[in-house]
Subunit: 458 residues, 2 copies
């Protein structure tokens, strides 16, 4: 007698104890045995897959092969579609002022002051409470913003074109480190940094890009992945590659104090590449979401209160409460009780093979996960279980140059119960103290289940 045992191991052990050969298969019921989800999966993996699989293949092709180029830096209000001069764009799903989390409220108040709508933050608070400032999800305006960024119309944005999709995406020029609004700070220095971006950094970046011409953003990111960047939590190598490209156009900026300040900002800002990478990723998802009927996630974003995803072909958000960042390291003196909930649109990177999927190649991110490269590899392997393909652009040296996992399929997520891993920072939950840690966040299962059921019902 030979035995193949599925699921619980008790029978296999009993057979083995009798000396009989037994093969044990660690099988678990899909979707944890959730009967409604299993029925939806049966449909979507069954006959429906004849329509879904070609749609997914086209989505994956667009995510994998589009070539986003950064062409300009412009005033947000002049280029972002549908953005009025009284709009603040925020991360994550749409949210009402009353529900906005503390770090994002502070960032919105700082933005209102920087825009000249209020003289100080308490005046900004009153203004925002009136509802006379439109709050809108950046993702609904072809834009993505990192962490607790509140993007006002006067702020400079990267303009990224993806010719293959005929689309253009935007993200704010990064605010840098320290006392900054995107980390939930609303100090005079944080406001001053926003003014610096508008008055100093934006115009100079525009002049540099006009001089050196369009830059292939993900070409730099692909090199960065070879150099230890996950291109989310860590963008040191990609940033430096970009700075090297910009350098020949620096002398023409002149030698005024503002230009010196600009160069000091570039030199000190190792996450400078983050937002241009986000805009590039958004331009890929914008092209991908034109394909109806697919089950590959094309929006994934958090606002510190809620976590939302979207599928191609529909503007509908699937939303659940934002989770805490569970695998994390905190700055000295801080711990999980200080950390705000998961926030930011930067999770768009995880949808195109960067961030979580690229963790296996990043010694710097490994430091947040136990310190060994094996710890880092586990994040990539986890993403591989729920992704439909592998990037042909981003290759992991530590995995024999295998591509990073690409294309989160809601079917796989619900089937396995494994949700995406997103490398991210952590903000102080309520005291306006800025960044207090960083780690790997795990997306909430509920949004994927809701998206799956909607797919099955459509």
């Amino acid at each position: 007698m030979s035995v193949v045992n599925l699921g619980l191991s008790g029978l296999a052990e009993a057979v083995a104890a009798q000396g009989a050969p037994v093969v044990h298969v660690d099988w678990r019921p899909p979707a944890g045995g959730d009967a409604v989800a299993v029925r939806a999966l049966t449909d979507l993996y069954g006959l429906r897959s004849l329509d879904i699989d070609p749609a997914n293949a086209e989505v994956l092709r667009r995510l994998d092969t589009g070539v986003p180029v950064v062409v300009d830096v412009r005033r947000a209000g002049d280029v972002v579609p549908g953005m009025t001069d009284r709009t603040l764009l925020h991360p994550g799903p749409p949210i009402a002022w009353d529900d906005v989390c503390d770090p994002l409220r502070r960032s919105m108040r700082a933005a209102a002051v920087a825009e000249g709508w209020a003289r100080q933050v308490d005046e900004a608070e009153a203004l925002l409470a009136t509802g006379r400032i439109t709050l809108a999800a950046a993702n609904d305006h072809a834009t993505v913003v990192p962490m607790a960024t509140a993007l006002g119309p006067s702020m400079p944005v990267w303009v990224v074109d993806n010719a293959a999709g005929g689309v253009r995406a935007f993200a704010p020029v990064g605010q840098g480190a320290g006392d900054v609004a995107w980390m939930g700070r609303e100090t005079p220095a944080a406001v001053e940094r926003l003014v610096f971006l508008r008055e100093v950094a934006g115009p100079r970046l525009a002049r540099i890009l006009a001089s050196i011409g369009p830059v292939d953003v993900l070409g730099l990111a692909a090199q960065g992945v070879q150099m230890g960047d996950d291109v989310h939590m860590r963008t040191q190598a990609s940033t430096n590659l970009l700075l090297r490209s910009l350098l020949p156009a620096v002398p023409a900026l002149g030698d005024d104090p503002a230009t010196q300040e600009f160069c000091a900002y570039l030199s000190a800002n190792h996450l400078f590449f983050l937002t241009v990478a986000m805009a590039a990723a958004k331009s890929l998802t914008l092209a991908a979401e034109q394909v109806a009927g697919a089950t590959i996630v094309t929006t994934m974003a958090r606002n510190g209160t809620t976590y939302g995803i979207r599928l191609p072909g529909s503007p509908r958000w699937f939303v659940a409460p934002a989770p805490p960042v569970e695998e994390a390291l905190f700055h000295p003196g801080y711990g999980p009780e200080d950390g705000g909930l998961d926030i930011g649109d930067s999770a768009v990177l995880e949808l195109v093979g960067l961030g979580g999927p690229a963790t296996a190649g990043s010694p710097a991110v490994a430091a947040f996960l136990g310190g060994s490269m094996a710890d880092a590899a586990r994040v990539t392997e986890s993403m591989r279980r729920i992704c439909a393909a592998e990037s042909t652009r981003f290759k992991l040296p530590t995995m024999d140059f295998r591509g990073t996992p690409l294309g989160v399929d809601v079917r796989r997520v619900v089937e396995t119960g494994v949700t995406p891993k997103v490398n991210t920072g952590i903000l102080h939950a309520h005291a306006g103290l800025g960044q207090v840690g960083a780690g790997v966040a795990t997306a909430p299962p509920a949004v994927f289940r809701a998206a799956l059921l909607a797919s099955a019902a459509s």
Copy 2:
């Protein structure tokens, strides 16, 4: 009966065939059975080791813990000790003009023209043949030069201080890529690049360093190793980190065409960090060679004709013919028959834990070795067999952050028959065509045997 079998495996196989337990040890006679070398090893590993081991420990401490900082860029003739205004410094052991290999001859002729000693290269040839230009090994003047560099007195050099050793070392500012003398070219463009270094790059780098202050060279290199640099064949990450440090001082250089050319040169030169790393490494070996009685190599250099090493406490060179670079990739249209012999002082990097020892972490170098990271790891493992310690500064993510092998012990080299691996470029042997490939060179055993016997005899 239990059997332990040493050496040839035949007996072990015979015993195993009888069903008896056998442990086979793949033992080989040390030094390949060379009786003279075995006698020297017996001495140097025996009672003599009571003196050698503490000396080696001090050498290793100096190689591992010195903190070289680049403080200035100066005219070589003004700062390099013992360099007259009619001196050309060259790589490798001392050599007479008649024995100089083709690429280095061309480089010397280009240097003579750039110095204004001759109007063109044939006039330079005649001048060099008269012996009125002193040719001297850079290593004998606290200096190291890469590939086929001929360093004239007007050229700018990095000035690197190692305070712990009370020493100062020098290396030329890199010539960059393309039509350049250090690759064995002597065209008008190659001469022009030397003039550019003297007139444009040198003074501007000096101004930048005066503005930003001393830079910790190996602090940047250590980051580079985390980012895929071996910091010899590949210095992309370290170069970009250095450029980022220099950036704040760029606006003050002004906006003249020469400064624009300077910035374009910086931006295009991914090996810019190579020579400053070499000067830093030389400053460590200069400090280490003050320790007498050690068996750790403190000079290793090639001039395309001969290959030489030195031990601490003595100026004596041990010399053998330079070998070809055997593990190599050639540019399209070229092959081993076109490649010149191993050349350059850059092997000083391999003595401090960079280059060959750091190969395991470098995807770019792996491409020259078969393409997989396992191929790259073999070079590091090979170095580990002959090195006495591990760097506490340079850590390999791909080897669980283990330090790179540090300190080549001639005893281990002769005992194992394994010689150092040096990551390097390959020049055209005779046609002045510049670089035709790159690869990993293996040092000749004879120089280590000679050094070992001299140690035993001293």
